[in-house]
Every structure is written in structure tokens, then in C-alpha cells.
Symmetry: C3
Subunit: 152 residues, 3 copies
């Protein structure tokens, strides 16, 4: 079953590859590794879940924000790898959560990415992960993720 | 002399591998690289050095927090590599310090990790490193580290 | 045309390799990858663009801060690779911007790095990139960058 079919079965879809806003690329491949650029929940140009978690953005929205950022990371990896079905495994995720001082549930937000990877790739979706809080993100989004994939 | 013997000689010990709090793993291996998940000073389940550096947590405690987070990173790398003695070299450290606005001694905190790596691995412990301040971390810990190791 | 010649043509120069302030190195090579340590705009020991973007540091200064941090990353990569002309391609950039809460133009700052890489390396300078806001950085600098290069 292809990744795109699995996404559809989950009620999701692979978004358009987000257009970089500078002299960089959606992702870069070196050997069998693909590093994605930082992605947000702006799916097909529509920005959602804007603001700080713990103030304008709820825990549930932060989870969805990480899930949608992960969809964009998948699209970027597919762009660099010649399609998402060339992904062999998920290696690493770092998730930055735009949050109020003292907010401490960043891992629950980044589960929005990790849960999706497990559903799409099973054991190959297991990854190393860091969840970090920050005081500001581009365009005031609530979550920014970057990912590393191994590709065929 | 094994890494565990060296730790004992330093009055330290390899902690239990921290249990992930989501669909991710303590570390992920790809080729000869192991990427750890973000680790904190929660050793064997006991959380220490909680709060912001520059307010609740002193510079000295931040140093120990980074040292203990590095011990957890070692445990994670050993989990992925079939034992810590399979570590060939330390490649990279990124350390996030939960701190008050304007705090500027993040490098002194992350020295708690770097000094330990030098003591355990000598020249092979030398690594690239970034030290970053942030306004919030999971469970309000004072330091979170992720590391990259080369393994045999 | 060598990288150093291209820098001179741009009115720039390769700085001295910044001295680490702890038990780490300017960069670390593993296989064909070089990971740099986090770099700032402190060129040849002179610290510039100090403070928070959105308060003491303007958008234009933040751009220059990222450009100068990128020059230091180049110097570090050259240190690890036996010269900057051994760089094959730029793989990845992560840029941390010390900024006020709610500041949202981190990508414009990190363009100072990305634009320079494009000018120096052309298509080989294209990279994956993340731009992140934070509330504090070492020595209160406005931008800290770490980079990954592929080297020959």
C-alpha cells in the first residue's frame, strides 16, 4: 500500500511541496539521507494554528499543527527522493513549539508528527526526537518541524 | 578501560535508558551514525534541576544538568549501538538551555556535556557543538541535549 | 575561481576560525559530512549586532549577522576539511534568531546566510534550512547558525 493511499485511508493527503521563501530548498539529499527544511502547518498555502501554544493555540491544535507540519516534511522528502515511496525510514525529528514561558507539554504536541509516522511507516517510522519550546517562530506559527529521512 | 569503568572512576554511572513519552525511540541508527532523542537530567526517573537558568537554577546546576543529560544520551546511544563501547566518536551536540530573557552563559552550561565527553573518550570525544537559549522545555527541565555519535 | 577569491569579489573575506569556548571543536567531520559548531557574527574576535532582533537589532542588521555567522561556519568547515575549496555542497542550515516575543521574520534574517551560499557555490549552495526564534543566545548575540556541509 503506497504512502499516499495510507494517507487517504487516514483522511489525509500529501500536500503540495511548500515553496521556500529564500535561497534554499524544500529538502536536501546527501547520500541516502534527506534533510528537510523547517516546515509548518501551512498546507497548500493556508496557514492554520497561528499563535502561541498555551495562549491562542490549544494543546489539541498544537498536536494537529505538528501533524500537518509532518505532512509538509513528507512532501519535501518526496520532492528530494523522487517520491514518498522511496522513503526507507524516518531517522530524526526536531520539533519547535512556539509557546508561553513555562509551557511544558511540547512532547504532546510533537506526538502529532510521531503518531503519523508510526501509522504510515510502522517500525520504519520510529525515530529519534527532540521537542523544544521557543518564544517565536516565522509567521507566528505554533509549530515548526524539521526531519531527517533515509531514502532508497 | 570500558566506558562504564571510566564513569565509575568519575563517580558516575550509566543510567537506565530513558523511556520515550511517545511514538519515538531513545535513538536511531542509520549507517554508522546514531542520533539520540532529546535528553534531560531525569536520571533513572528522578527529575532534577527543574526551572529556568538565571532564576530557579544556578549556573552550577545548569552544568550538572547538561552532564546528566549527556549521561542519558550515552545510554540512548548504547541502546542503539549494542553497548556504549561501540561508540567510535562523538560527532555533534546541540544543547538547549531553558533560561530567562537575556541570559547569555549557555556555553558554560553545555560544558557539562563537553567536559564529560572529553574525559570519557579523549580526542574521540571532541565534537561540534551549539548552545542555544529557549524560553521553555518539556517538564520545565533546565537543559535538553541531543547528540550524534559515530558507532562501530 | 576559489571560494576566497569569490569572497573578495563580494567585498568579504574568510575570517579566522573562531576559537571554541569549551571542550569542543570548530567542526567535526564524519565520512564526507562536516558539522559545524554554532557560529555567530563575532568576526576575528569582534562581536557585532548584539541584542534582540525587534528591539536593539534591526532586520537589516540581523541579515548581516546571519551572513557573518555563515562566514564563520565556512571557516570552521574549511578547518575540518583541509580548506574551504574542499566543500562539495551545502547540506543544511539551522538559524536561531534572538528576538522579542512575537517577532516573525526569522527567515529574512537567515537569508543573510542562504544568499551568501548561493553566491559562493551556485546550485551546490542550495540547502535545507530552518529558521527559529529564541529568547536568548550566548553573549547576547542576535543570530547563531550551525551548518552541515558535504566535503571531498
Amino acid at each position: 500500500m503506497s504512502i499516499e493511499s495510507k494517507l487517504i485511508a487516514l483522511g489525509l493527503a500529501l500536500p503540495d511541496v511548500p515553496k521556500p521563501v529564500g535561497n534554499y530548498r524544500p529538502a536536501k539529499r546527501v547520500g541516502s539521507l534527506v534533510f528537510t527544511s523547517g516546515q509548518t502547518a501551512r498546507i497548500n498555502g493556508v496557514r492554520r494554528y497561528v499563535g502561541k501554544v498555551g495562549r491562542e493555540v490549544s494543546d489539541e491544535e498544537a498536536y494537529l499543527s505538528a501533524r500537518d507540519a509532518a505532512l509538509n516534511c513528507l512532501a519535501c522528502a518526496g520532492w528530494a527522493a523522487g517520491g514518498v515511496d522511496h522513503i526507507v525510514q524516518v531517522v530524526k525529528v526536531i520539533g519547535f513549539v512556539n509557546c508561553v514561558d513555562g509551557y511544558d507539554k511540547q512532547p504532546a504536541a510533537i506526538n502529532g508528527c510521531s503518531d503519523l509516522m508510526e501509522r504510515l511507516f510502522g517500525e520504519a517510522g520510529a525515530h529519534a526526537r527532540s521537542a523544544i519550546g521557543v518564544n517565536a517562530l516565522p509567521s507566528n506559527v505554533s509549530v515548526e518541524l524539521e526531519m531527517v529521512f533515509e531514502v532508497a
